[in-house]
Amino acid sequence: MIAVTINGLNVRVEEGTTILEAARFIGFPIPTLCNDDGLSPYGACRLCVVEIGEAPRSKLVSSCTYPVEEGLVIRTASERVVRARRMVIELLLASCPQSKKIQDLASAHGVRQQRFKQEYDDCILCGLCVRMCREQMMANAIGFRGRGEGRSIGTPFDVSSDVCRLCGACMYICPACQLRCTYNQPEIAICNACANLSPPCITKDHYSDMMCYMEPCVACEIK
């Protein structure tokens, strides 16, 4: 067992647990977006940042990837953490405002506006679908491509992948696309998961080129 201090509370936790697991176990909430219990931690969304160490040498780290260390002092909601988190949410809101999950996050953290140019991205590149496909479905059908602005998720060479079993897990776990598809024709697709009246993918020209890798879509049948 390892002794750590979380928000002033001295606790002992199992070796090998991450700060996120430890904090949640004790009852301190930490928001996450790219983290899921069944998948390996990735540390990409930066929402779960916490402050570790003593000032002035304290720093922010992503709690989902940071293993607890003996004597570590952790603050999960210091002013610095909250400020950083709010900025991440603001950036998320500026990129993908149509996501129910991001809207909920913004509302929970009191972010009421974003000050950047509004974009409507389909994907925030959290990588949940990639890890889901690889780690839980053992298919490894999709992956990351490119870097910087050009980074995207997809199948190799954008052709339907032979190893894809059309399981729908990637869609199930996606926090940005709240469209639990009912069919792959835009005219009759109905979003039955989010409150958005106009799900983003329906308005696209090439419906079949969307982030859904299923033809036909089977997610609706799983329901």
């Binding site: 990837t65 940071y66 590149l125 490119g146 870097r147």
Partner: protein, 615 residues
Amino acid sequence: MEQLRSTQEFTALREHLLSALNPDIATIVIPAGTCGQASGATRLVRTAQREILSRNLQGKVYLRVSGCHGFCEMEPSVLIEPAGTFYPKVDASGMRRIIDALLKGDVVEDLLYVDEATGQRIEKVGDIGFYRHQSRLLLSQNEKIDPLEVYDYLRAGGYCAFVQMLSNMEPSRVIEDVKTSGLRGRGGAGFPTGTKWEFLAKAANGEGKYIVCNADEGDPGAYMDRSLLEGNPHSIIEGMLIGAYATGANLGVMYVRSEYPLAIKHLGNSLKQSRRLGLLGENILGTEFSFDISLVKGAGAFVCGEETALMRSIEGEMGEPRQRPPFPVQKGIHGKPTLINNVETWANIPLIFRDGADNYAAIGEVNAGTKIFSLVGKIKNTGLVEVPMGTPIRKIIYDIGGGQAGDKGIKAVQTGGPSGGCIPADLFDLPISYENLAQAGSIMGSGGMIVMDESTCMIDVAKYFMNFLKDESCGKCFACRKGTQRMYELLDDISSGRGTMKHLKVLEELAIILKDIAMCGLGQTASNPVLSTLKYFRDEYIEHIQNRRCPAGVCKELISFTINERCTGCGACVKACPEEAISGEKKQRHRIDQDRCSRCGSCRSVCKFDAVEVN
């Protein structure tokens, strides 16, 4: 080349090499690194070779094709040893005249370097201002060595430190010495090298340990690592051998960016030679110690210079950083303990053991040793500069660099590449050290130094680096990917006259937070160009926003060109204008159609009468 089986055989070979060469015979040294070749050194080499062959001068004059000596502004240059005569910007006919004079024991007066301040010609290389104020511990070796010849390196004392160590020095003593020397990582962060080695030495040795040379030098305007790789590859191999011996590593990797073809060629050749000599491989010089180095080419991503991304790239995966811990020394390449040092750090290691750790520690103030900077931008003497730590920036820019290149005064210097910041002219007395530069809002970085004068717009500079970073961010961490994109957007708005004070507030807020939350070093330092320009040049930002004016005359949307009464109507600008925006009768004052003008500045650069004004 025969394999050496013991340290005695090594010593014997070295003695033989030294006796076979007469040091009094004149040697023509032609620096032909990438920079030299680009300015015509290859032709010079060919001319010299032809002259020597056709006039039967073999044995009377030696020719050595070396790596870069650092004075890039004067390439292609020729250095005569042992006299130390320096000829800048030599062409083929000059080369022939130099050889003629050399045979007579003369110098070619009119080809010598001219000192701009005094107007006098300077003969000896050591008397030239650019060289005189430097302490060239690493770069001076480049002159002595043909990078394709291992024997040159042996003659210059190469591998001696390692071989001596192999016979009579405990690995723990080696680490102690590196610690005593005070050497810190030259890649930018400045982590104490000895301490890093100690971590690796203590790491459990299951199925081997890796040591890596990080030669993924990607900063715009920085090329000191390239010169070392091209000019003296064996010194890096020797540094890694010493590192491996001290830490018990058995696997070595050189990660070189594929944009350095000459460096890769020289390194590959040197590795082959070292293996053939028995200095790399199994049972080196007949001892128990085994170590080999493989060469890995990068695929062109800037972020792969970050150590965790570099390791993934070596493993053959996508170059993406991950959060530490686990640190590379705990879990590195293929899960094995790994130590990563920069090219310049490795090149410094043999020096520590050649000159003694205490002597090395005595060089420089605040931090130990020398540091190579690549001095570029609006400066007279462009080139590689090696100075002791603690040298004031002013000395580098004015004494060595020769000051401003044009008629405009120097405004700032940008250090540390895209992750660094701008240091204004009134802080030029700052002695260079890791701490001082960090305090000033910049970083040491790998050693890029871009000089900017009054014609540089600081918003444009910040925008340039942000554009670079938004393309080179790996995109894994949301904060860095979107943060750099958004900062670029805001800077673009400000530079094109759409900015408001709100832009400035958001920009600053985002920049400060990004420093905090990004996953790796690239993201954490990505806001430095913005924060440092905001700190020292806030008035320029405000000028752009409130008066819609670019004081340096750079931001296209905020400037206009007009022709004043000095115009003679020569028509040069009419021909130069790509938009056909300039009209006017011959020998009459011309005018510019502002609607058509794309503000490219072509007219201004061709005008001989200074008649085109920027407003």
